[in-house]
């Protein structure tokens, strides 16, 4: 199997990313589940680019005509999932922020004063 220049560049970059992920795992301080998810995505991308026939074979197994369609459908599902994830996070964060703003506002409530009457003009 002869790789094209693009495949070399893309697979090389993805291999570097995977090495970086492994180093990050050794350093610790992150959730293993999130690390695994990221690593699986990079690895899947590397394999799909290195061997495009693999997605074609997967497409046939799934009853989809073309490998490119498999990639497209996966991206659509991933996009929807990611959008919902970030919408949820954004909404929850907004609620927390609003609660904080509200509590601070109540703590710092001020009482206004009655307007003092304007000084009268001295009679000429």
């Amino acid at each position: 199997m002869k790789l094209t220049l693009f495949q070399w560049l893309a697979c090389g970059s993805l291999a570097l990313v995977l090495i970086f992920e492994l180093l990050r795992l050794r350093r610790g301080g992150q959730l293993f589940g999130m690390w695994l998810l990221r690593s699986v995505i990079w690895l899947a991308a590397l394999v799909a680019i290195a061997d495009p026939d693999l997605t074609q074979r997967l497409a046939r197994v799934l009853g989809i005509s073309r490998g490119a369609d498999v990639v497209f459908y996966v991206f659509v599902l991933a996009f929807l999932g990611t959008s919902f994830h970030f919408t949820t996070r954004h909404t929850r964060l907004q609620r927390q922020l609003n609660l904080l703003v509200s509590r601070l506002a109540i703590r710092d409530a001020e009482r206004g004063r009655a307007t003092e009457p304007a000084p009268r003009e001295p009679k000429a």
């Binding site: 919408t87 609620r95 609003n98 506002a105 009482r111």
Partner: protein, 225 residues
């Protein structure tokens, strides 16, 4: 005189109109809470020139959050009846007695002002159409037989204000409040009120297209708990 009636006035960039609204309220209702929702104009200054409570949001959080803040503050001050009142002069302070009467008499936990039972001055036909759609939406989803929706003129007993759970930060809170009437099994009634539309309030107020945004916020809000 400590009547226990607290008027909650939400204000966002209402410096030009707030003073007149407060001057209409203050002679009869000494307990007024102005919630300045992160205004960039002189709204806070106008409020502080009068004997009212000023609760200031550091940033604009939306009408729903402002109402929650006002309710929480008023309850903390010992409110028995809470009235929500617009800052822009659309509501008539002389109608407050009529709005709070069912709560004071113990006949209702929540009183909703209805412009369709009362009067609407200079309401554009597009607003009329959107409101009628909103009423149909409320009747369908909240299963409440109401004649108006998204009317900011209401009265709540302290108990009702404690029980109502609002999560919607912006205008969709009004629909959520209707849902809560059913969920919390609160007794409610409608009373006729007057809404005055002016060129200024129409220019600044909600766009009729906001109805779509409100529906989207409600859907997302129901998915995310």
């Amino acid at each position: 005189m400590d009547s226990g009636v607290f008027i909650i006035v939400r204000a966002f960039n209402e410096g030009a109109r707030l003073g007149a609204s407060l001057d209409g309220l203050l002679p009869r209702f000494p307990d007024v809470v102005v919630v300045d929702d992160g205004s960039s104009d002189d709204t806070a200054l106008v409020a502080l020139q009068r004997p009212v409570w000023l609760v200031r949001h550091a940033i604009n959080c939306g009408a729903g959050t402002a109402l929650k803040t006002g309710m929480e503050f008023a309850l903390g001050q010992g409110a028995r009846v809470l009235v929500t009142f617009d800052a822009d002069g659309q509501h008539d302070a002389t109608e407050i007695d009529r709005v709070i009467e069912p709560v004071l008499a113990g006949r209702a936990d929540v009183v909703l002002g209805s412009r369709f039972l009362g009067k609407s001055e200079r309401m554009p036909w597009t607003r009329w159409l959107v409101l009628k759609g909103g009423i149909a939406f409320t009747r369908l989803f909240s299963r409440l037989r109401v004649t108006d929706t998204h009317n900011g003129f209401r009265a709540l007993s302290a108990e009702a204000a404690r029980r109502i759970r609002l999560t919607q930060p912006r205008m969709a809170y009004a629909s959520e409040l209707m849902d809560q009437l059913r969920v919390q099994k609160l007794r409610y009634c409608e009373v006729p009120v007057t809404i005055r539309y002016t060129d200024e309030t129409l220019a600044k107020g909600q766009s009729s297209w906001n109805a779509l945004r409100i529906v989207a916020e409600l859907v997302v809000g129901r998915l995310i708990r």
